[in-house]
């Protein structure tokens, strides 16, 4: 088991390094010269040269990459500007270290992701479960029809429709803003409600369909029939023999989806003007602020890769059939 975990962690480090290198090459080689971007309109060749020097752009590529990597662990200096320990770069457009930009916005993204996740898990899993048990009834058919519709709405379309109906026409909700919970809990709830719903709808529908088909498959398994034949009570069979195997695959997918959202819900945050990681990414892309774009890409990849490992470890704990045989 220990060997397996260590092996996986090694794989994680390799993948993250590859993502780092690839992002670095794309952003710093394909896109316009960062020195020219920073220098702005009133620019002299000497100034460009000195900026290049400060950023280390005159160094060979590998040296630059090494500086970037070591900056993450020990910090680095850009001329007179110091960027301390987890240094993912420095944005010369906002004059801030990228790390502090990220930590300032992470709470908003986490709030959006966690709220939506709770919503879609509840609605999706319970909806799918009820559909599976009442298979073939009008409830099942309408729920699954609705789920197909929900999967098909692009979230920015849903966001605009909700905003038009709930905010502009009916004036039931305020326009979303990233209010901290401690300032005004009610306004906080009202603000995040629409983003949560918009983000959750697609996932909820997907999870409902998955849960339904997994539970139906499980109900046809031999061990389920055995359990019934033994005369166990309905609730116990449902919990121990049907739900556990049916929901294990959902855990896997949930881990991946949730990890993907921690790197920022780009479209939802942008449409609702919530200042999280996703909106920061969109803004930085518009301004071509490369250090920020790169850091967000890395952060998001980091979450996905870690999520992947956590899910695999969890899976072995949840599903006795796939436990690694220690040889």
């Amino acid at each position: 088991m220990m060997r397996y975990v260590l092996g996986r962690l090694g794989g994680v480090i390799l993948i993250l390094l590859a993502v780092c290198l690839f992002t670095y090459l794309i952003f710093f080689k394909l896109s316009p010269d960062p020195a020219v971007m920073i220098c702005g309109k009133t620019c002299t060749p000497e100034r460009i040269d000195s900026i290049r020097d400060v950023l280390g752009l005159n160094q060979p590529l590998l040296t630059q990459f090494w500086d970037f990597l070591s900056g993450i662990f020990v910090g680095r200096d850009y001329g007179s500007v110091h960027c301390s320990a987890p240094c993912l770069g420095y944005s010369f457009q906002t004059n801030e270290s990228v790390w502090s930009m990220i930590t300032a916005r992470l709470p908003v993204s986490i709030t959006v992701a966690v709220g939506a996740a709770v919503l879609w898990l509840l609605v999706g899993v319970i909806g799918g479960l009820v559909s599976a048990v009442k298979q073939g009834t009008w409830w099942d058919r309408s729920a699954m029809g609705l789920a197909l519709g929900g999967v098909s709405v692009p979230n920015y379309v849903l966001a605009l429709v909700l905003q038009y109906v709930l905010v502009v026409k009916l004036q039931l909700l305020p326009f979303p803003s990233a209010v901290p919970f401690a300032d005004d809990p009610l306004l906080w709830l009202e603000s995040y409600l629409m983003p949560w719903v918009v983000l959750a709808v697609g996932y909820a529908c997907l999870y409902a369909r998955l849960t339904r088909s997994n539970v139906i498959d499980t109900l046809a398994e031999n061990y389920y029939r055995t359990a019934r034949a033994k005369g166990l009570s309905g609730a116990l069979i449902m919990r121990r023999h049907a739900l556990r195997p049916a929901l294990t695959p959902i855990t896997t997918i949930f881990g991946m989806d949730f990890a993907g959202l921690l790197g920022g819900a780009l479209i939802t945050e942008t449409v609702f003007g919530l200042n999280g990681i996703g909106k920061m990414a969109a803004d930085s892309i518009a301004k071509n602020d490369q250090p920020v774009i790169m850091a967000v890409t890395l952060l998001a990849a980091f979450f996905v890769v870690i999520g992947n490992v956590v899910v695999d470890l969890l899976y072995t704990a949840l599903d006795p059939r796939v436990r690694v045989v220690s040889s």
């Binding site: 690839f22 794309i26 098909s152 692009p154 605009l160 967000v296």
Partner: protein, 315 residues
Amino acid sequence: MTTSPALVEVEEAVPSSAPPTSGRRILTAVTRDKGALACLVFLAIVVLMAVAAPLITNLSGWGPYQFDSAAINSDLGGVPHGSLGGISGSHWFGVEPQNGRDLFARIVYGARVSITISLSATLLTGILGVVLGMLAGFYRGWVDQVISRLMDFLMAFPALIFMIAILSSLPSGNRPVLLVVVISAFGWPYLARVIRGQTMTLANREFVEAARASGAKDSQVVFREILPNLRGSIVVMTTLAIPGYIGTEAGLSFLGVGVSPPTASWGQMISSSVSWYSVDPMFFAIPGLFLFLTVLSLTVLGDKIRTLIDQGEAA
């Protein structure tokens, strides 16, 4: 069913006996299901719009880039005249606020962009996914290692952020081609993963061993024994991928890195309607509805086909 005698004749004319997952069986089943048939009809209309866009706009009278300053109220900041976003006899879906471009024409030309890009991306991902997935599953060993690590790597990427970043930093060039390449580059691992797994299982089956024992070469085994058995998965995965790619294209255009204006795309139309949605809701409702219905139709159809193929395999 009135057509069954004709069908029986055709079946008999092909003695090789069509496999249970034949296209014909699926087509008849789809046309018998009302919901699926409605989806098929709607998709046919969208495809027709895409193919015959110039003809249709000739009939409707307005091109996608023509400004109609008579249709908008310049005193009110360019809001369309009349209710419902300026829907009238000459502008069937109304006009864009501010410059008065005909929404019907832009929807029709937008269909062209959506369909072309999503179908090309599907084709490219299909080829990449099937070829690489089969290579990995068939040869295993280091080939599998290389391809699998590449897939892990690509799937670890935050695809949307990365697509936006690449598209915004690359020179504009030929946007549609760039979109197709970028979408496919991040899309193929999802198909390849499934194909790889199935190829691995198939390669161990008796009929493959039998083919090998009778002296078939690798290429014969791959094309005659394995590929035909993957057909069901390929059809299902690709049909269900198309709506995803339509959504991705629209999303990228919505975020401003897709097709560049003045070319119309549904996503880009929705994007430009954002600042108008409170005064002119029709401007976003129309492209939003078309996008939703197209994605919905494809999803419903894909789902139906999957059920049919699963039933065929179980039979």
